[in-house]
Symmetry: C2
Subunit: 221 residues, 2 copies
């Protein structure tokens, strides 16, 4: 009734993306445009736009008139994508440090604050969105705009795979805290330390914290 049909497409997009990354919509699930339109209470065009964008993000595969399916999760590809992400973000450190202004630092602090808020609320999806926003805001300082969507895609798929593998789920507060050294290195204007902090951060995303003995720092709980 008073449902705001404005931004229907963006709403559908966010909803489907959340459900796919959170693995509520499992790989292979078939999505139909008219079916989603009726379920979500909007027209086919809005669903269509959302599915087009999700295809661009690699979360669904559109097979013409045969329907749209949620893409599969592949361990090898996930590891390659994480390695790619690691390379992109660590290499960017040398460009980020000399370009970071005080406004950038303030924005990143704000992102980290909202991330801690999501962790305190136990809101897993808000945590994912805040993490993506933090890493993209950091990378944007590197001034490589054409690479931002590539990194965004890598980050999104990293999260998806991490959430799919149950042993990769961890305490949200610890995840938020793991970003502090990155920001500290940036505030110290130390490019080497920033690259190392970022690399270590990414190394600990999918590795179980107990698998190696070199994990001697903050212990959750």
């Amino acid at each position: 009734m008073s449902e705001p049909r404005r931004q229907a497409g963006a709403s559908v997009l966010r909803d489907l993306r959340r459900r796919i990354v959170l693995n509520e919509l499992q790989p292979g699930t078939v999505l139909t445009e008219l079916g989603l339109a009726e379920t979500l209470g909007c027209s086919q065009a809005a669903v269509r736009e959302a599915l087009l964008r999700l295809e661009g993000e690699g979360l669904v595969a559109r097979a013409g008139r045969q329907g749209t399916t949620v893409t599969a999760l592949d361990r090898d590809a996930a590891e390659e994508i994480l390695a790619l992400r690691r390379r992109i973000e660590t290499r960017a450190a040398a460009r980020i440090v000399p370009r970071a202004g005080s406004g950038d630092l303030a924005s990143l602090e704000a992102e980290l604050t909202s991330m801690r808020g999501a962790a305190r609320d136990g809101d897993l999806w808000a945590m994912v969105e805040a993490d993506i926003a933090f890493h993209l805001a950091l990378f944007r300082i590197a001034a490589l705009p054409a690479m931002e969507p590539i990194l965004a895609r890598c980050i999104l798929h990293t999260h998806r795979f991490r959430l799919w593998a149950p042993w990769h789920r961890r305490k949200l507060a610890a995840t938020a805290a793991r970003h502090a050294p990155i920001l500290a290195a940036l505030e110290a204007r130390d490019a080497v330390a920033l690259a190392e902090a970022m690399g270590h951060h990414l190394d600990t995303i999918v590795e179980p914290p107990t698998s190696k003995t070199k994990k001697t720092e903050e212990t959750p709980g």
Copy 2:
């Protein structure tokens, strides 16, 4: 006007992509959905779908109701993307060699043949499409499906930048011939040679053939 309206969206997509990569539509050009619809003789929906996909490929930027513009070309980002592409394709060599079957080799031979045909006809765009098809077909053997769109994007942007910088234009026949060593290394089932051939191929994409090769070796994962 009697043009078949079937596949209108795909036709618009290919047309706009070609014109952007070939730099006929220069960065900053403003595209309107209804304007393109009238020019191309189709409806707004078809143009809209094409623009959505082009945005997903990073060739245009949609700014809501403020219009859609052709994205800028950035030298730094282009070099980073090429380096990223080099890493992806050389790393894939070790996965490609043990997985390549005879059918794959035949397909790649066919791709190379069509590339030579495009070179003989002097068809620059057909050459670009054939090159993309060859590299993607080769990478597909690596069985990392989630990374294929990332590589596709890198290849597309590499071509766009190469065509934008006029000194990077070369003889089409020489470009086609430069792919032969890659296929030869694959047929020899030599992963190291394949990686080297691919790396050399990519190093000579934007470097003038007479300059000395400067190796930009980065820390391997």
